[in-house]
């Protein structure tokens, strides 16, 4: 297995608040990685650094041997990093299919004049993209919803649509920000299976932020715990679960002492 993404000493400060503090982090090819931690631990900030929304204050992020710190999100999408959002951010008034087509935007070649005059090459490209969008919607279980407005879909479907849209960019690394938030146990179980399926069938590396410990412990190849922007523990789910620093971070020192007794 080779390393696909490596963060070296990455920090992100907002004024005097250091949200991510000299974090070293690696993601291996074809693996599922979770980042957990109490609220405000810097998980989403780290996500935003990796996807180009924030430029790291110090340190650098290397993706496929390429320094990507300071690149814009759309540039990173082009080289294979895609994400979903903690609060769903779909293009509400567009159809499900159009949402997915936006994810393909950077792979399509048509320019302004091609768009207006539609030579055969553009027609073929569009037809193929529409078909591919349909297949992706089918893949995430949204067959039959192609022409529905994104905003009219039920919550769970919107989550899937976000994933379909991210997959449409053809990523190598997919970042999922709390993919099971707000889901019932059945939906959560589906999502666990689905994330595994993504890794195995699409050969993806996945980085996820998740609060549901059942999800994290079930699917992760590696779990990393952040607290106050620092990495306090890392390893396989079983190791992290036993780590005293993790229990302390979540429950406090008193709780830890009580557990020891």
């Amino acid at each position: 297995m080779s390393v696909i993404l490596e963060a070296k000493g990455v920090s992100k400060a907002f004024g005097r608040l250091v949200a991510v503090d000299t974090l070293d982090y690696t993601i291996e090819d074809n693996s599922i990685n979770s980042i957990i931690g109490p609220n405000g631990a810097g998980k989403t900030t780290f996500f935003n650094v990796v996807t180009g929304y924030y430029k790291p204050t110090t340190g650098k992020v290397v993706f496929n041997q390429r320094n990507i710190s300071g690149s814009r999100p759309n540039q990173l999408t082009r080289i294979g990093i895609a994400r979903t959002f903690q609060t769903i951010r779909l293009f509400n008034n567009l159809t499900a299919r159009e949402n997915v087509l936006i994810g393909m935007h950077h792979r399509l070649k048509s320019g302004v004049f091609g768009d207006i005059f539609r030579p055969p090459a553009v027609r073929r490209e569009e037809a193929k993209a529409h078909e591919e969008a349909g297949q992706l919607l089918d893949y995430v279980g949204l067959k039959g919803y192609e022409e529905h407005a994104a905003k009219s879909l039920p919550y769970g479907h919107q989550r899937r649509l976000e994933i379909a849209r991210a997959l449409a960019t053809q990523p190598q690394l997919l970042l999922l920000d709390e993919p099971t938030a707000g889901m019932n146990p059945n939906e959560t179980q589906d999502m666990i299976l689905f994330i595994r399926k993504l890794r195995d069938e699409r050969n993806l590396s996945i980085l996820l932020i998740e609060h549901d410990m059942k999800v994290v412990m079930t699917i992760s190849d590696k779990v990393t715990v952040l607290d106050y922007g620092k990495k306090i523990s890392e390893g396989q789910p079983a190791e992290v679960q036993k780590d005293e620093r993790v229990i302390e971070a979540y429950l406090g020192r008193r709780a830890l002492e009580m557990l020891k007794k």
């Binding site: 996807t51 929304y53 814009r72 999100p73 759309n74 999408t77 082009r78 895609a82 994400r83 959002f85 951010r89 779909l90 293009f91 509400n92 008034n93 567009l94 159809t95 159009e98 087509l101 936006i102 994810g103 935007h105 950077h106 399509l108 048509s110 320019g111 302004v112 768009d115 207006i116 005059f117 539609r118 569009e126 089918d138 893949y139 995430v140 279980g141 949204l142 067959k143 919803y145 022409e147 529905h148 407005a149 905003k151 009219s152 039920p154 769970g156 479907h157 899937r160 849209r165 991210a166 449409a168 960019t169 019932n184 059945n186 939906e187 589906d190 999502m191 299976l193 689905f194 399926k197």
Partner: protein, 384 residues
Amino acid sequence: MRDILAQPRSILSGRLRWVLIAIFVVIAPFAMKELELLTNFGLITQVNRALIFVALAQGLNIVVGLAGLLDLGYAAFFAIGAYTFGLLTWPSHDIEMSFFLAIWICALVAAVFGIIIGAPTLRLRGDYLAIVTLAFGEIIPALVRNLGDFTLTFRGRVLIEDYNLTNGSQGLTPLGRPNFTFLENLFGLDKGALNVGVNPTFWYFAIVITSMIVLFSAIRLNNSRLGRAWKAIREDETAADFMGVDPIRTKLAAFAIGASFSGLAGAVYASMLGAIFPELFKFQVSIFLLIIVVLSGRGSIWGVLIGGIIIATFDGVFLAQVLPDIFNGEVLPEYDVQSLRWVFFGIGLIVIMIFRPQGLFPPKSIETKIVPPVAESLEGVQNS
């Protein structure tokens, strides 16, 4: 329940619809001529003006309706198109370019200005963008007014002295008109037989063709890679950026293409009038165009076409001619009824915003009905 207004195209279908529309478009100017004789109201010139405004509104619709960038100074591009045409064809400038070449250059120049004006506004959103575009809308006419006599010096060296570029507030006249001399020669007609520069019926067809070019481009763009990117930016710029859409390029494309429509329409308008003044491109023009787009339905190309024709003709015929004729006769001999024009549009906007905020003819309705959640567990996600 089906919304009739939302689907103006579903009333007739198939090829028949297009044949009927074509016949109507061709007969219309002749019918209007007859009506003009009957009623003494100017019709064709007003419809021509209305169609120019439709072409302009299509450009604004790309910026405001599709890309979601509120532009309050869109008349600036109208002015740039018209004045570029003026500069290229005003006899005093000794260029006197052919109409058929000049209009495309005007579209191109306006597009370049679209990028120049768009560039500094790219980082702005919402209200801030609106304010900056408002300023540009004021700057361009002011510039035109003041370039009637200017001297350019660079490090003490005088580069241009007392040059009259725009003829200031007196405006540019006469301007180039379409010239069909080559056809006259070709068919051995008398000289001046095809001198149609002041014929409103000729201009009607010229403007119909211009509007059709704009309409065609707008329809094609709306449903294309770029059009989707515009709508994505409108819906959620940050999310679009994360999905691989470059917001900067996409917004600049909206400004440039919107401006090029306006440049083309401005050039044709300038040629039709034969004279242009800075006053023609006041702030009110930007607002009037915005009213057309908002009342008709932001983002709806057919809506802006139909709404634009109705609103601009209503303005030019009813508000400007019929109403004064009714009231100024006896009821209000001294009162300038036309000053109530903006009251009408103001009330119209309020009514629309309350009862139909999406506009009279909103974009093709997509299925927005809330879908009930289906089965708890979905087949597609299961491990197969």
